[in-house]
């Protein structure tokens, strides 16, 4: 009498084929939840969104626990070999500091110098004479991978005493409570508790990402195996890619594809 009835194996519900199980990145998760809520309302399909991390989501997609995995990082080669991927939105990454920090503009080179420890005092950047406290995401995070790739440094180069925080929220809280700090988070999570930097003079807003003047962005992915994707699953992806879907993406603070 356990839930492991052959039919339902893998999909985590008792309501049969009516459900789409999605799991993965915590960055993509909130957006996917909103999309799912809208889609469910329109079609009566039940969509479960589990925010458990990109890798866990990819693993679930590969072994069939979930119909669709969400990832905020690029697939490893062996993963890509087993999965199809769809970009559902872009996400901008913004460099943030304590609101009291007078520095508001950085060049991409300065960002790199900060994160690799070549510059360690805000004075060197035209700010107050105080130590810079670097806050980074953890190794393996999609945001961090994308950030490092675009800024142009490798994980090993990250300044040794950088604070490593897991998740956008933790970076935000850390930065918001420390006047020395600098970190990076997703566009979606920006609010008044932190201040943002213009990079190379360009403001971090969606339009600037779309016109390619703001470089710090990365894709949000849906991944799935060919056989696991049901008709309903395909419909959901189609809905996301439609202009209705992309409106929701935009409203959620992410960057639409078109």
């Amino acid at each position: 009498a356990c839930g492991g009835d052959e039919q339902e194996a893998g999909s985590a519900t008792n309501s049969g084929g009516e459900t789409i199980a999605i799991s993965g990145s915590t960055s993509v998760g909130p957006l996917a939840e909103k999309l799912a809520a809208e889609h469910s309302e329109q079609t009566d399909v039940n969509i479960e969104v589990n925010q458990i991390g990109s890798s866990a989501g990819i693993t679930n997609a590969i072994n069939g626990v979930s119909d669709i995995g969400m990832s905020s990082r690029d697939l490893k080669d062996e993963e890509a070999a087993q999965l199809d991927q769809t970009i559902i939105a872009y996400d901008g990454i913004v460099v943030v500091a304590h609101p009291s920090n007078p520095v508001k503009d950085l060049t991409m080179e300065q960002v790199k110098q900060i994160f690799t420890g070549e510059v360690t005092n805000w004075k060197q950047l035209g700010g107050k004479d105080m130590e810079i406290v670097v806050v980074s995401r953890e190794d393996g995070s999609g945001s961090r991978d994308a950030f490092q790739e675009i800024v142009g440094y490798e994980s090993g180069q990250l300044i040794r005493n950088a604070i490593v925080a897991s998740g956008n929220g933790n970076i935000k809280t850390t930065v918001a409570t420390n006047k020395h700090a600098v970190g990076f988070i997703s566009f979606e999570y920006v609010d008044e508790t932190i201040s943002t930097f213009n990079i190379n003079g360009v403001e971090p807003i969606a339009d600037n990402v779309l016109n390619n003047s703001y470089a710090l962005a990365r894709p949000f992915l849906f991944v799935h195996t060919e056989e696991a994707l049901t008709q309903q699953g395909q419909q959901f992806i189609d809905f996301i890619l439609s202009s209705d879907g992309q409106d929701i993406v935009e409203a959620a603070g992410a960057i639409r594809l078109d």
Binding site: C2, G3, G4, E8, A9, G10, S11, A12, T13, N14, S15, A21, S23, T26, S27, G29, P30, E33, K34, A36, A37, E48, V49, N50, Q51, I52, A56, N60, N63, V65, S66, S166, G167, N168, G169, N170, I171, K172, T173, A176, Y189, T193
Partner: protein, 274 residues
């Protein structure tokens, strides 16, 4: 000299208690201060909405499910295992090793249990991401706590009770449930309360096995989100401390209610023998 030492130690006892209580007040105060503004009828009894403003009823229900299922499995299993180790097994190397390993497992980060649960219960046993998979994982997490505290409680039952009962021609089993377990009850209960704390406090082990679906669970085979996972996600991703604290308030009230019930039930159970 001795009196000074006594006075010093007595001072330390008072100071420690003051520190503990101070911490208690500080933390609970912090949580209430940050979160109370979010509390409303809709927040507690409303359905969740991903676009914000919704309630946390589904998480409350899921939390209660997880506690109930984990305890229903772990309590008898743990108590009986402890009974075996303490009352039946020949005390020696093997039992000591089991005890030792059990203790050491309490310190393994719960995320590892979570991954184990994800591989074993979710994938291998094909339970899927579900409340039941999470509860089974939690069962394993709290087993050592229950076993260890029960063993300690059994140790404190005077040997004279055992002898007195057995000399009346009762079986070990009768002695156990009529005399030994009732008088070990307070200790066992505190183990259970600690376990509830551990179950409720868990996040990593749960979101890897039950997922984070923020909808009212249809059954224990549904994927769902507990209160703690909710406050974890909120802290982790949106950094909304107030909301996390508001969830914390609900949890504190819930735990308080559960602890009171547990104490009440154990008193009743004890009374049954008077």
């Amino acid at each position: 000299m001795r009196q000074t030492k006594d006075a010093l130690l007595r001072g330390l006892l008072w100071a420690s208690a003051a520190v503990s209580v101070g911490i208690l007040v500080l933390i609970v105060g912090f949580i209430f201060y940050k979160g109370i503004g979010y509390i409303s009828f809709d927040f507690i009894f409303g359905d969740y909405s991903p676009t914000g403003g919704g309630g946390i009823l589904p998480m409350i229900v899921t939390t209660i499910y997880t506690i109930a299922i984990s305890l229903i499995i772990a309590t008898p299993l743990g108590i009986l295992a402890a009974v075996y180790l303490q009352e039946y097994a020949k005390q020696g190397r093997l039992v000591n090793m089991i005890r030792f390993a059990t203790e050491s497992l309490t310190g393994i980060p719960s995320i590892i249990y979570g991954l184990f649960g994800a591989v074993f219960f979710v994938a291998t046993l094909k339970l899927g991401m579900s409340i039941i998979a999470a509860s089974l994982t939690l069962t394993i997490i709290v087993l050592p706590v229950i076993i260890r505290t029960t063993e300690e409680a059994l140790k404190t039952v005077p040997a004279a009770y055992r002898e007195g009962s057995l000399a009346l021609g009762t079986t070990k089993l009768q002695t156990l449930y009529k005399v030994i377990l009732p008088s070990a009850m307070p200790g066992i209960l505190s183990g259970i309360i600690l376990s509830i704390g551990r179950i409720v406090g868990e996040s990593a082990a749960i979101f890897l096995t039950a997922g984070t679906v923020a909808a009212m669970p249809d059954s224990i085979f549904s994927s769902a989100r507990t209160l703690t996972v909710h406050s974890y996600l909120v802290t982790q991703e949106s950094g909304d401390i107030g909301l996390a604290a508001a969830v914390g308030i609900v949890l504190i009230v819930l735990i308080f209610a559960i602890n009171m019930t547990a104490t009440f039930i154990s008193k009743k159970l004890n009374k049954a023998d008077f």
